[in-house]
Structure formats: C-alpha cells, structure tokens
Amino acid sequence: MNTMTEAAPVRPIEPTSYHVKEGNQGIALKIKDFKLWYGQSQALHGIDMEIQKGQVTALIGPSGCGKSTLLRSLNRMNDLIDELKIDGRIDVGDFDMYGPGVDVIALRKRMGMVFQKPNPFAMSIYDNVVYPLRVDGVTKKSILDEVCERSLRSAAIWDEVKDRLNESALGMSGGQQQRLCIARGIASDPEVLLMDEPCSALDPIATAKIEELISQLRGQYTIVIVTHNMQQAARVSDNTGFMYLGRLIEYGATDTIFTKPHKEQTHDYVTGRFG
C-alpha cells in the first residue's frame, strides 16, 4: 500500500537522463487556504499561492512574517516541531502533501532544500553530494559518480573540488559549502528546490556566485527562495510574494511587485519605508 508510488512514479535513474527535466509549463505547487499554528499562536493565516514550474519564486517580508514557515511547510520540515497544527492543503502534482497516507520521506526526496547556514555533513565532499542517493538505496558506483559530477557541475563548484572529492567537506569555505549544499539539494533530481535565505551567512562575492547559480538553474528546477534582501529578490526571481504578519499580502510578477505594486503595504516595504 504505497499511495506515493502511484501518485508519483519514480523515474528510473539513468546516468544520461538523470538531470533532464520534462516540462517547464504549469503549476508545481498549489497552496490552498493554508493555515498553521505553533501551539496557540497562528503563524500563517490562509495562504493561497500557485508556484510556477521552472521559475524562481521569491518570498520577501520582514522578520517573523512567516515566509520561512511557509517554505518549510512545502517539504513538511515543520513536522519536526511538537504541537504543530495545520489546516488547508498544498498540492504537489495532483495530490495533497498533507493528505492521509502521504510518505513524508518520499515527498522530501522530491523537494530539495538549501538552508540559511551551510550544513554539509561531516563526510567527504563526494559522500555529501551522493547522500540523498545513498539513503535512497543507490549503491552502483557508476550512477553515484555520474550524479556527483553532474550535481557539482550544476552547482558551479565542480572545477574547485574535482581534485579533492574525498576530502572532508568541512574544510571548504562558507560559499563553497553552500554551493555544495545546493549540489546535494539537486542530486536526487527534485522537482522543487527550496532555499531558505541561502546567502544570509555569506560574503558578497559568495553571494554573487550563488545568485548566478540560481539564474543558471532557472528553467531546470522550480525554485522557491526566501530572502531578506530585496535587491536579491529583484535580481533572481520571476515571481515575488510579499508576506506580512502571516499573510500573503501580494503575489505576482517580480517586476510588478517592485515597480507598481497594487497594495500600499507592499509599496511601503519595497521602498524601504518599514521592515
């Protein structure tokens, strides 16, 4: 009884097709009236949002507005928190990821995630990148090698690390570590890549590299990025959602949000009048 396999047939892993995407059109995630409570306090008040396939969607808003909470709801990372209550649904493909009988582990394999602080594991660079495949039971060396190289190339770090794949990942610089984490996030060929303020712990040069990488990945992956940095959102994203106090105030094309927003609050925020 595995509803997941029916809903999302696992594509066979073949070296040549591993990172090739099929369609770029349509909706990747559909969030419908999604509410979330931490114990008694409500963190999200009915979010409605459609995330477009193959595009970069940015979530902006002041601290504590619920943008990270929303992002972490997209791969059910919030499940780790006790006393969490949710309402509403998030559809991925044609099923509700909060519906009954959903295999959370299989779901997370379809949602790569990059965190605020680079968090490579205490393993070699190689082992870090192929970790998602290893936990999935892939042992064939040729597949692992292929995926490792492709992921590292996609994350624009292959040339820097190709000669020291067996060294500890903890010996890399912060920016390299973060790009390694991106490589790890895309190694299992996810449909969506979630990024939770991926540049906030990095210096400007490393940040520029990550932003460039995001631009390169656009089209290949559906990317949702949470950021504090409005210039970054303007630079890298196709669509932007502005959140405030647990509500999605405005969501639309990035150009619109930053040049002629419809809502007063959005205007105030993007022009720097509060936040």
């Binding site: 780790l80 790569g112 965190f115 968090n119 290893r134």
Partner: protein, 585 residues
Amino acid sequence: MANPEDSISTAAIGVSTGKPATRTGGKRVRSFTADLSAVGEPALWGFGGALAIGIILIAGFLAIIAWNGFTTFWPKPIEQVELVDGTVIAGEPTRYNTFTVGESVLARLNDAQRQEIEDNFGFANRTLYKTANFDLYGDDFTWAADFDIANVERPSGYYLFERQQWGTFVGFPASLVIGGEETAYDQGLMQREQRAARSRFADIRRLERRDIGRINHNQERARLDSRKALLQYGENDPRYLARVEVNNARIAELQNEFVEVQQRISDIRAIDSQYRVILEEVNGRTVDTNLSQIVRFYAANDVNWFQQAGIYLSRWGEFLTTEPREANTQGGVLPAIFGTVAMTMLMVVFVAPFGVITALYLREYAKQGKLVSIVRISVNNLAGVPSIVYGVFGLGFFAYTMGTTIDQLFYAERLPSPTFGTGGLLWASLTLALLTVPVVIVATEEALSAVPRSMREGSLACGASKWQTIRYVVLPKALPGIMTGMILAMARGAGEVAPLMLVGVVKLAPALPIDGFAPFIHLERSFMHLGFHIFDVGFQSRNSEAGKPMVFVTTLLLLGLIVLMNATAIYVRNRLKKKYAGSQF
C-alpha cells in the same frame, strides 16, 4: 586642593556643552585607575590559590606514590648491627623514625644516654631492619634504637637470597651440594647451577600446570558427563550405564597418564634435591635449601651500580610477568593485571551499547516530557549511589538469581558446586557496567544534543529517514563526545574495588579466566584485581610490613595501567575528532 586633572576635564566639558562648569563643582576627582574589587584582583588571587593547592595536592600524591613505587625494587645494602647487649643482627635498613622512649627502657640505660634523650624532649631515633630469615626467627623485621646500637658495619660478603618460599634470606652461602657431592661455595658455579635448577623448577611447574591440569580437566569432564547422563536418563537406563562405562574407562586411562606424569615430576624432583645450597646467617644458624628454590641472589654490599640496575630491572620483570608468591607479598602480579584489564574491557563491551542506545532513545526518540525528565534525573542520581550497593545488587541479582538459574538450566551436572551461581568475571563486569552506565548516558546525551539541528534538518531534507539521519549524520558527529563518556566510565570502572569484592574478585585466583581448555574464555571464573591486590597485600596479609612496599608498587602499576588505557582511548578519540574536524566556516 585644586586638582589639575579635574580642572582640565571641567574645561573640556565646558567647551563641549557650552555651559559653564557649574555641574562639576570640583568635588569629584576623576580617577583613571579602576577600583581594586572591580578589577577582580582579590578574586583572581583566590581562584589561582585554590588551583595551586589542588595541583600541589595531586602532584604531591603522585610524587609520593612514584618515589615509593620506583625505589622499592632497588637493591639496598645489608648492614651488620652489633647491639649493646651483644646480639648481632644483619639486614637491610628499611626506614627510620622517632619514637618516645618508654619508662622501662629508660630504666636500663646509663646516665649519659638518659641525658641525651632528655635533651631530645624524651625522643630517640630508631631504624627498622629487614632481617628476613623468617623460617629461623619467625619475623622479618627488627627495630634497633640508636642508643642500643654499639656498632654498624657493611661488611663485604653478605648475600641476599630471594626464595620461592619463606621470603628472603640474609646471610652467606656456606657450601654447595652439586649432584650430591658437597663442594665449597663458588659464585660462578652457583650462578650456573641456580639457572639450571630454575629451569628444572619451571619444568616441574609446567608439568603440574599443563599436563596435570589437562588430565584433571578431562577427568572432571568425564565425571560430569556421567552425571549428566544420570540426570537425563535415570539410574537404571542402559544408555546411562553405557555412558558410565565409557567415561570410567576414560578416567582410568587418564589416571594412568596421571601416574606417568607424577613419575616424571618425582624424577625431576629427585635430581633437584641433589643440587642444594647451605645458607648461613649472621649468628651461625644454617638453612639447607634446594637451588631451585632460590629465585635471585646477589652480594648486597659488593654489587656495583650496573649490577644493581640489572637486579632492579629483573625485579620489575618478575613483578610484571609472574604470579604472586608468599601470600602475595612477593613475586609478580600478572594475574591481577590480566584480571583488571580483562574486566575493564569486558565492562566497556557491555556498557557501550547499553549506554549509547539508552541515550539515543532518551534524546532522539522519546517525547520530552515529565516521564523522560524523571528518568533523566534518576539516571543522574544513579551515579551517586555508593558503589558497594551495586556490589550487593550484583551478588544478589546477577550471581544468586541469574547465575543460579543458568546453573540449573545448563550446568545441572555440576551442582551443588556453582558455576555461574557465584561471583565471576562476567558478573563483575556487568556490575561495573551498571555502575558506569549513567556516566555514558549523560555524556552521550550531551554529545547528541550538541549536534547542530541544521545537520539533522539537512539530512531529513535529503529524504533520509530518522534512523538514517542518526546513523549517518548524528552518531558520527557525536562519536568523540561518546568516546569521552566511555573514557570517564573506564577510569571509574578500572579504579573501583568495593563492589568487586562481592562479585568475583579473590585474593589468589587458581587459574586465569583464559586458558587452553575449551571454551578458552571462562567468564564464570573468579579473578584477581590490582585494586583488591593493594588492599589485600597492604592490610590483610600475615606480614603487612613486608607487603608495604608492594602496596606502593602495585598502586603505581594500577595508576599506570589506568593512564595507559585512558591514553589509548583518548588517542582513538582524537583520531576520530580529526577525521570530522574542520572549519564550520
């Protein structure tokens, strides 16, 4: 009292605020040196002093043990002491002290001596001589007060003999008996013959231990097999009778072998008794002893520094590699070293999985609530329970309850003599594992909680299950911390004695827990332990003065052993740390 500094600051304020200097009327003097209490100097001296006292205490303690331990085996000269009353004693001066002279002693002294003691406020000095020759005098030591000594010499020719039995002998070799013929003493001859005699002695011991041990073991097995058949089939069953017949034949066959070995032993003994040495002590009394009984001998006042060093090293060698003799006060401590190490290792084998699994459940899986808090507090409190209580528990639960059950189920033929139903290596290790498990749990929990949350999330976001996350990410990262807990547990366990006395440690174990008979590792056997050895040698033996130096040597060895085991563990931990080290950015 115009302070120049004050006026400057006033002027400065006046300029910057544009106000006249009314606020700083000149009363407050600005000081650029902080208050003494604010700097923390008095506290610093206090803390530093406390640390210094601690270091001095530890260093002093180690220095005393090291000094006494390391000097014990160094050969000392033999003094021949002539007392005022005409008696002559000879022995090694072992220690000196000051004592209050009693009335009855004072009464027999002359005026000059009495005056001298009075000038010393009633005290006098005395020396303890290790006169040895226990078989002749019934005592190993003699006190000689300074006022009783007429003359002290260190004459050449005195020998010290260390014997297999009866302890040491101080005196001269009078003559030798070689192959039954009495000849005059010659040092070279004696050295050669003593070496040959020692190898005969080793032969006898090997025959007794290995061959007779094997025969006894097999006879016992045959006897137990008969008894097992009796318990299984009943008295009149033909299968039982058949088995008994086979076993009895085997026992008889072994008995013949036994007689044969005994014959070989008595042959060697007969040769051995033809090689003897006649020893003479200072007052002319002689002792006739087999050369094979002499473990070591040297001319105490005639050896040079290199020979002394040789004797010193040979004594350490004997100490570390042989079995004890003379009620543990002489010889080696090999069985105790073996027992200590084996027990500690076994304890780690038990405590590591148990402690780590418990901590994993408490920290990673259990829902953090009241119940887990209570469990955690209880575990912490367990570390404070007196260790003897664990000994009582180990004896009552492991040995008497579990052991007896095991005996009834698997070793019924050996009853009523217990196999596992009494103290032994297994139960002692388990008891100590129980004693040290709180240490491991606490350390492991701390190590687990120190693994950053972001790492777990990173792993879970990759689609790893909770167990995979723990297995591949959390545990490797926490491993050095877990190892630290293991090291603490080992240090605690290796130094523990009280509970062991109840669950399997003995004064003198007849056999090591590992030998050549299947199943080779005998976890049910009782064993010797260095900690208990110290207690036994120093305070339980017939001749505690003779055991005193051994206390320090054994203490030194125990400390060294614990340091060695911990250093190994720390080395392993640091290797692991290096493996997972690196900048977190």
